[in-house]
Every structure is written in structure tokens, then in C-alpha cells.
Symmetry: none
Subunit: 250 residues, 2 copies
């Protein structure tokens, strides 16, 4: 096995597991503990990860290569969700969409004939719209965060001040009826709050795995949403708590 190949595998594994253990990894890749350790040191020098006692953890700048969907089941859920969302779009609308797999998937599924303006801070999303000739894209510039492949920071914020959109499609890590919509990255939560301000209505598209999940930074309360779209039927028992809040759910 080539050293480079092994290091690639280490990074991949780190990407999915967020942390790795030398001994385990050595057995898994069938090389000595020392080789793994030396690889880790090398990768740390290059800045790909952080070495800790007993292993290594993902560096916040670590690239996310698996932008694609995370497995068949989740892709099916996205399909259902996306189909529901498509009904909202009408010609001449201006839509804010941020990063995340859900939004990316929805953008890809948009009808080729739709005439929209989409405002985004996500590079994969912008590129997904290359195939949609009638959709204008406004890209919000700023500091680029490789991990999420989005821009953030005051420059994004400043540009948002001049935007008046019809909808904001918010991607989140967790949706909880009591704890609200939340996300892992602090800066991102701030931008999301501003995106809400910049749109008449905020829509949250989320697959069932994210329901009742709470992450570190709250973007807003659940009631502040105008609409939630999930892959479940609106009457599904899993949505009971959410239905009580008076937010439209489809």
C-alpha cells in the first residue's frame, strides 16, 4: 500500500468519524502503529488534522469531499421532501438558499423552465444551478469556509442588507419544537438570522433524522418559521409536538 493512499484513507476516515485511534487504524489498514503515527504527524504538518494523545481529530478546515448525499435511504427522503417544496416556487421570485445537502438537492431538482433569482452563499449550490438557464444567481461573497463550502462573515452580512427575498430556505442541523432551529457553527447561525430578516417568509426543509435534534447555536425559535417541509406526512405522529406550535407543516 502506498503511503499516499494510506493517508488518503486516513483523511477519509477522519472525515466520517471526526476522530481516529492509532491502534484501531493500524489493525484496520494492516500496518504498524508507527506508520500510522508517522502519517498523522505528516498530515498534521500539512494542516489537515490535529494530533491528540492516542489518535487524531478533524481540523475545522478539513475538506468535505463527500458533498454528495449520504446514502440511498436519505436520498429517498430528500426526494419526497424536494417534491413538496417545488410547489412553492413561482416565476420571478427571489429566493435565499444557504448550504447543506437538502438545499443542494432541491436546487438540482428545480424545473429548468423556472425563472428565479437565487441568492446563496454556497459554492456547490451556485454550481448546481449552472444547468438552469433561467435562474439568476447572486453569490454572497466573504470568507470562505471550506468545511461547509459556504462564505460567512461581515461581508456576507453587509450584502444581505440589500436583499429583499420572497423566501428563505434555511438548512439546519437540528429542529426541535422547544429548543428551536439550531446549527453547529456560530458564525453561520448569525448569517442565518440575517437571512431570515432579508426574506418575507422562512422555510425549513428537513429530513426526519434532524427532528428533535439540538445543536450548539440556536438560529431562531420554531414558531418564527413560516413553513416546515419534511419527508413525513404532516399527520405523522413524529410531528405531533411541532404541529402544536402553529407553524404550517407540509
Amino acid at each position: 500500500m502506498l503511503k499516499e493512499e494510506r493517508q488518503r484513507l486516513i483523511l477519509d476516515k477522519l472525515n466520517t468519524d471526526k476522530k481516529i485511534n492509532f491502534v484501531e487504524l493500524g489493525k484496520f489498514l494492516d500496518v504498524s502503529y508507527d506508520s500510522i503515527r508517522r502519517d498523522i504527524i505528516e498530515l498534521e504538518d500539512k494542516g489537515f488534522l490535529k494530533k491528540v494523545h492516542g489518535g487524531a481529530v478533524a481540523n475545522s478546515y478539513l475538506s468535505v469531499l463527500g458533498t454528495k448525499t449520504n446514502g440511498a435511504s436519505s436520498s429517498e427522503e430528500l426526494g419526497i421532501l424536494s417534491k413538496k417544496a417545488q410547489k412553492l416556487f413561482e416565476n420571478r421570485q427571489t429566493i435565499i438558499m444557504d448550504g447543506g445537502t437538502t438545499n443542494f438537492f432541491m436546487a438540482e431538482q428545480l424545473a429548468k423552465t423556472l425563472e428565479l433569482t437565487i441568492v446563496t452563499n454556497s459554492t456547490p449550490l451556485a454550481m448546481a444551478l449552472n444547468e438552469h438557464p433561467r435562474i439568476d444567481v447572486i453569490f454572497l461573497g466573504g470568507t470562505y469556509f471550506k468545511r461547509y463550502q459556504i462564505t460567512l462573515g461581515s461581508e456576507v452580512s453587509r450584502q444581505l442588507e440589500h436583499i429583499n427575498a420572497d423566501y428563505y430556505f434555511m438548512g439546519v442541523n437540528g429542529v426541535d419544537a422547544q429548543k428551536g432551529l439550531s446549527i453547529r457553527h456560530y458564525e453561520e447561525s448569525l448569517i442565518k438570522q440575517q437571512m431570515m430578516q432579508a426574506a418575507k417568509k422562512t422555510v425549513c426543509c428537513t429530513i426526519e433524522e434532524k427532528l428533535n435534534v439540538q445543536e450548539a447555536h440556536r438560529v431562531c425559535n420554531f414558531q418564527q418559521l413560516d413553513l416546515m417541509i419534511t419527508n413525513l406526512k404532516p399527520t405523522d405522529v413524529a410531528l405531533k409536538d411541532f404541529q402544536k406550535q402553529g407553524v404550517e407543516i407540509i
Copy 2:
């Protein structure tokens, strides 16, 4: 077996396996280890792959843009050009790079250990830098032009006002000793002019096909360049007219 034929087989194998081991391959193709190794060196110089200890791994450039590239010859030229350009980069520099295959290729080839800030308006370029943990990316937001996968317009312009870069690597469609550097898209030519203002030195990387080509919109005169990098030897007769202009050419 012809060398060409063998190199084609090597590339094919690399395409499917993503990696190559010299010993295995030597047995497989029934040629000496050394021939394989020399082939790999040659292919690396042309930018087709990356040589590592004991073998070679796929160059991400080919896997990403693989089908889009304009033929093998052009990739070879880019490899030579890119190698020359790499000498300019030093830690802590701020570099403006706009769109185009040349810049994209160069960005991918940057050393993983380089500590740079790269300012760009090209989405593929920003994403190419995901793999460079020490490179900060500032993305210039604005109106997104799908055709070139870059942003343009007044918003980009406004953000550029606050940038002071060390180098600007300009991508162009045509370079002519008399008619200057030119490009097809009007708006883009304006942004390029501003990018020149925002950097101490402007560098133009161009393959020979673009020499003596004139496009609709002139960005600047040839003399305004600080450095031109081509795939040719500086002494090449095709560069005669350019050499007279007093611009450094490597």
C-alpha cells in the same frame, strides 16, 4: 511496446484504480521497473498524475475536470506553465486569482504546506482549494455568471476596493504584443482592470494558443504586465515580439 501506448495504458489504469504501484505495473506490462518509473516522471511533468514514493496517484485535476479538458496537449502545456508559476508563491502572501482553466490548474498544484490568502471570484477555484488546509479563501460575491462560473458586477468591484494583494494572476482569452490582453466578456474586463489595481504585481499565465490572439475587450496593454508565464521557453521565437516590450517572461 511503444512508449506512447504504454503511457496510455498507465493513465487508463490510474483512471480506474486511482493509484499505481511500479512493481505491479512493471510485471503487468512486462517492462522493467525503470521504464515505468521514467514514464511516470514524464507523465507527472505533463501534469497527468502525481508521483509518490513507490508509485503514483491520480491528480485531482483530471478527475474533476477530466472530460472537460481540451485535450491532452493542453494539459501538458498547463503542467509546464504551472510548474514555473509555483516558484512565485511564498508563505503569507495574498494572491488574487480569477477564473479560467489555467488558474484552476495552478491552484490545485499549490503545495499543501503553503500558507496563503487567495482572493477569487471563481467558484471552481474556491472549491479546488478545499484540499489546501493552510490556504484562506476570500470569495468575492456578486452576480454569478454561469458560463464562466465566476461572479461579476458592482458588488465584486466594491469588495475589491478593500484588497491589497501581492500578486494578481490574470486569466485571459488573448495576449497580443500590440493589442494587449483581451477577453470576451465586457464586464469581466472591467473587473480584471480593478483586480490589477488591487495587486502590487500582475502576472499573466498563458499557453501558447492564446498568444497573438485578440478578443473583443482589452483589459490592459501588454507593457502593463509585470510578468508573463508561458509553456514555452523564454527564448522561443514565438515570444520574440513580446520580449521587445520589456516585460519579464519566464
